[in-house]
Assembly symmetry: C2
Homo-oligomer: 340 residues x 2
């Protein structure tokens, strides 16, 4: 903010021939106000293009209008989606979005975050997975007195502090789709230990298999790290055995792209020799060959819901709900019935 000669509330008051407080009432839409007074003040505001100073408001109110996005997410598109959803939910309000990436691996992560929360004292923060699953961070927010909402693949906090997706159900549906195509040897590229999303997605697969009278043998599970490279490795492990799986569910798209890569290296045709399903519906899913069937994570709508909860713009009954949003299957070219 450069030093400017912006009109202040005093200018408005003087020109309208009223007191500051009356102007303040107009700004804050106080109901007890004479209709003609209001109109006169509004006219002056429009005339001189008066804009209330957010800093002064923040000081007087003892709170600011900053919503923080705290994330440690390796997937750029997901972060952007969440930003977009947050901004949609914040649109028309006086809140601003400040972003704060943190490094989950850093020993000073909690310290850094504390520093941010204490200095800036944002009105509220949205915690993105995977760090949203770290209870220490939620505890830190509570201790500092900063409201928060956690985004996760399962309900891990009080409803008013949660927006959740139904990853387990979505993966169950995706697995049913594979089963309906005739697949029986279905492999899993799992997500990293400690990620709730990884756990939920795995359980979705296991539940669907179990409901079909099948099991998931250890040999058909390969651990991954949510990265492309780990997908290549996991794909190698699953595909270098006999009999091979005819289909593989991957806990995210990056790993699915890696499995696809591994399949191609082995001369396997996707989907004829191997069907693949990913999770996230990142841009890469539509841009690799064949285009990847995947589960779309409702990142934008989750973030939008979170914004409303954080700012209190949602009605109380909405706020009190956990905001369960549906992940859904996006069918593209990487799935076909198994050969023979």
């Amino acid at each position: 903010m450069m030093k400017t000669n912006q009109p202040t509330i005093n200018d408005v008051a003087r020109l309208a021939g009223v007191s500051k407080k009356t102007v303040s009432r107009v700004i804050n839409r106080s109901p007890l106000l004479g209709e003609d007074t209001r109109r006169r003040v509004e006219q002056v505001i429009a005339d001189i293009a008066y804009i209330p100073n957010p800093q002064a408001r923040a000081l007087a109110l003892g709170r600011n209008f900053l919503i923080g996005l705290v994330h440690d997410n390796p997937n750029a598109q997901t972060v952007m989606n969440v930003q977009q959803g947050l901004l949609e939910g914040l649109h028309g309000s006086e809140f601003e979005l400040v972003v704060r990436p943190v490094d989950r691996a850093s020993p000073t992560m909690l310290e850094d975050l504390t520093h941010f929360l204490e200095r800036q004292r944002p009105f509220g923060v949205l915690l993105m997975p995977p760090i949203s699953e770290d209870d220490r961070i939620a505890a830190l927010c509570t201790e500092i007195g900063c409201r928060y909402v956690r985004m996760s693949s399962a309900i891990i906090d009080a409803p008013e502090r949660m927006v959740a997706s139904n990853d387990r159900d979505a993966v169950r549906g995706a697995t049913d789709y594979l089963l309906a195509q005739g697949h029986r040897r279905i492999g899993l590229v799992a997500g990293p230990q400690g990620f709730r999303s990884a756990q939920e997605r795995r359980e979705g697969l296991e539940q669907a298999l179990s409901a079909a009278g099948l099991t998931l043998p250890r040999s058909l599970v390969a651990d991954g790290a949510y990265t492309f490279d780990s997908g290549i490795d996991a794909g190698a492990r699953l595909l270098d055995q006999w009999p091979r799986p005819t289909a593989i569910f991957c806990c995210n798209d990056a790993m699915a792209a890696g499995v696809l890569h591994a399949a191609r290296e082995r001369g396997l045709d996707v989907p004829a020799d191997l069907s693949i399903i990913g999770f996230d519906d990142t841009p890469i899913a539509a841009q690799i060959w064949p285009p990847l069937t995947t589960v779309r994570w409702p990142s934008v709508s989750m973030a939008r819901a979170a914004a409303l909860k954080l700012t209190g713009a949602a009605s109380d009954d909405v706020t009190a709900e956990p905001s369960f949003l549906a992940s859904s299957l996006v069918r593209r070219g990487s799935v076909a019935p198994p050969r023979g």
Copy 2:
């Protein structure tokens, strides 16, 4: 910011037995201060964990500590890189990053931006391409009195308001690489009209060809829109002619992925039948098959440099420079000598 009982400057002053102003001097590292007074005050600050209130500071100083990132960039990874670079440049300072995506296509875009700048009055903003190339936006910032730095593929403003990359040189280098492999029929998937990056990259190609005594016939140029789909279309146009180009330079990776897709649809082997080079080095470049040779855009370091310029943290001679940062060729698997 919840209503809290944070210690204030008054608490520090009282406990240290000095005036507020003295405490203020300690906080702001005023040089004219007794050594023992300073130490005593600092001790109290540490004891009661006092943190100055940014809102009050902002009000008193008549400026805030917000740096805005204004973008309309379709590429998530690039935006994240820029955010990262900005935050690196801002690290240790008292500045916060607020993000403001805008919709270039919206008729209210300028209005929306005006609203943001006037209400929030950020200390400075970084303008990302492509909207950084819109002179109306730069003019708007000037008019409102908000400092800005533009990121672009060429120098389009005063040095202190620019960080630029050398796209033209980089593409010239990439083209030389293709020429050295023996390619002579080199096609171009151009970027959209009006994008400076598209223009610079095209000129890089043309300059390199020209230096080799070659020209770029109209038939080997296909216009694209920086999207995957437009890359498929452009690839179709270039590949459905005879003789076909043996190599194609694409003005970004998304379009290169589209061309790769189009090549595969026609049964062409990349790189044996067709070499492809992209631009940006987005994650997809490394995750498609074959991995894409591409030019890396120095987004992180450009943004870092921009942060220093915006906050005045850079020394004056650095600030006065245009901050020309180098794009560089990343060699992967999508380029080989032409057949025969």
